[in-house]
Symmetry: C2
Subunit: 364 residues, 2 copies
DNA sequence: TGTTGTTATGCAACCGGTTACATGAAACCG
DNA sequence: CGGTTTCATGTAACCGGTTGCATAACAACA
């Protein structure tokens, strides 16, 4: 009894008059109202004079309801301004309608248009995209991924993030459909849609050699994939008797300025490459600007090759020779895979090599 | 006693043989297993020999548990490989830890770095970002926003999207903290962090006039904000006796190529502006490229002014005169606002003008 | 008219957590 | 040493939906 008294004293929240004689008053209502107050399916049901189940069916299997009921429910929904709580539904159905996109950065990233396409494609099917930015810190990436898993997405798209073996194993253990894109890992977690960075490096090297350019410079970010292209470029060049390429790298994302200054430093240091291979078109753009400034002719004195075939590549002067990756094809295949998994269909070939194309324009 | 027996009989988990004599068999188990199977808080609790509540407290108020219990729970978590289901928790707490970012596009958008910063800042507090891409279609934007609301985010960040009055009203009615960024609407939904596009247009116009340039060309995307800058630029110019600026617009996002071709067309059509004002640095970049091609001197013959102070602006040749918006300050204030709202603190000044800066470099 | 389907709905048991309140044990106090 | 706190934990009622099963009302059929 005494605790009861102390309880009454401790709780004079709102109006609450008349708390007398309720010998075993059960839990008073929870405090934290959601912003939605009581605009729930239950309220709609009461107003429409039907059960919660019927309102639920109004949304999920409208065909079951009679014309009359359907109309009453619809009215009630309007009156209340009801918007279904997708979280609550997801708890039962085990389908959150969430797709996680894990990506190092969205600011001027080569991947962002892929994410854009995937998001568009999936939005049409009612999915929303959860964004997880990993930066280039591995430990941080791990935490981001685990946090994402806690939200039980229906799918995870990994793009450009490098995860350690343990995180990959944990991810596999969740059994969440996972798609690695823009790469073809040796040991995929689940599905993969990408291309071989090694082949890209080799193809560019062969092109350079075919044009008789042997002294080369690589300007690259330090991402694992960019370095892989660089490695195979180097290997192919030296394999054909060319001298090992010079290498300038920088941390983080590629920018126009970083790349431009990298080239400037190299030239000032006495470097005289016949060809510069950049890890991104953005970098190539910076290189072209610097060469222009110095009055060096492209490609006669120095050829330039980029990566990505970004929207401006064809419009540069000279137009940029680069490697085109069909990002929207990756996006499309990725969306398709996710939908197949959602429908529990078998996927015959879970690893898709989307290929790439060396687009030879005037710069090299 | 009987329930015990029936329980034993009723549960021959697999193989479902022997369904005899269960007169009122209760609901068989639900079909759709989640990917996580039964790795739930309940399982952990059983293994650790405690109640679900205790496991929950292990995560949410670890201080309450005894050293011993805490250790046992932790072990059980490890053994099970348990990852808490944030959705389930959110249902009770009414805090989803989700922040929705509504934005027209992330591919090469001036806003994407703001989203990036906000995401980083909020990730540290345990929030995840839900991405909603609206495109430039109003109806589509409306649907995206409503779909987002169904997920009950703890906050909504509106950037660059234009919503009709009804959608805005609905959004206000949800009482979800909403921040409009990169703009200062007349009638904000809730909070706003931005700057006046009209003032930007006016400032650029005054700068042009101060340098004696009267014949101008505006190359702009058709977004509401870009047009607003254009409008006030025009008004200020004509107000000072200059002729009305010529105007080239294009739909969708600004690209290097679109902008470059727009200028080319204008010049070919006989236009002879003294200054070109672009709605984006990307566009200005294209303009500079075209002027270079034609051997037109910048800024002596034609000056160029951009918008955004993107990372390459200072590195162009000539370096680009542009309007700098402190996107990370917007992001920081936005994150701060959201956290304040989450903690139910009062916000003294809900509309923040972050200002802008005209950065005069060599191009104009 | 009794039987058997259909249809449209309601009932209530979940989903996987959180948390107000209850409880038992140990610590503290005069 | 009885009474009061404090501490650690358990119990069970939610959160807001979904859905298997039951049922009532009718139509169709023999």
């Amino acid at each position: 009894m005494i605790p009861q008294v102390s309880l009454i004293i401790a709780r004079p929240p709102r109006g609450d008059e008349n708390p007398l004689n309720s010998p075993k008053r059960k839990r008073s209502k929870r405090p934290a109202r959601s912003y939605f107050g009581d605009r729930t399916i239950g309220k709609v049901a009461v107003i429409a004079g039907v059960s919660k189940a019927t309102v639920s069916r109004f949304f999920n299997s409208p065909g079951l309801l009679s014309r009359d009921t359907s109309a009453r429910v619809e009215q009630a929904i309007q009156r209340v301004g009801y918007i279904p709580n997708l979280l609550a539904g997801a708890l039962t159905t085990k389908r959150t309608g969430l797709i996680a996109a894990v990506i190092p950065s969205i600011a001027q990233s080569i991947f962002s248009s892929t994410i854009q396409s995937v998001t568009d494609a999936l939005a049409a099917e009612g999915y929303s995209v959860l964004l997880a930015l990993t930066g280039s810190n591995d430990e941080y990436a791990r935490r981001q991924v685990m946090s994402v898993v806690g939200r039980r997405p229906d799918g995870i798209i990994l793009t450009g993030a490098s995860l350690d073996a343990e995180t990959r194993a944990q991810l596999r253990a969740t059994r969440i459909p996972t798609i690695e894109t823009w790469d073809l890992p040796d040991d995929p977690i689940d599905l993969a849609v990408g291309f071989s960075h090694a082949k890209v490096g080799a193809a560019v090297a062969k092109h350079a050699l075919a044009r008789g350019r042997k002294r080369t410079l690589v300007i690259s970010a330090t991402g694992a994939r960019a370095l892989e292209r660089c490695r195979s470029f180097t290997q192919t060049m030296t394999g054909q008797g060319a001298p090992p390429p010079a290498l300038c790298t920088f941390e983080g994302t590629t920018t126009f300025g970083k790349s431009r200054r990298a080239l400037a430093a190299h030239l000032d240091g006495g470097g005289r490459p016949e060809l510069v291979f950049c890890s991104s078109d953005i970098g190539a753009h910076g290189v072209i600007a610097e060469l222009h400034e110095r009055g060096i002719r492209i490609p006669d004195d120095i050829a330039v090759i980029g990566f990505g075939d970004l929207d401006f590549a064809a419009d540069l002067a000279p137009s940029l020779t680069t490697v085109k990756i069909d990002g929207s094809a990756i996006a499309q295949k990725t969306a398709e895979f996710l939908l197949l998994r959602a429908r529990k269909k078998r996927i015959a070939n879970p690893i898709v090599d989307i290929g790439f194309e060396l687009i030879v324009r005037s710069s090299g």
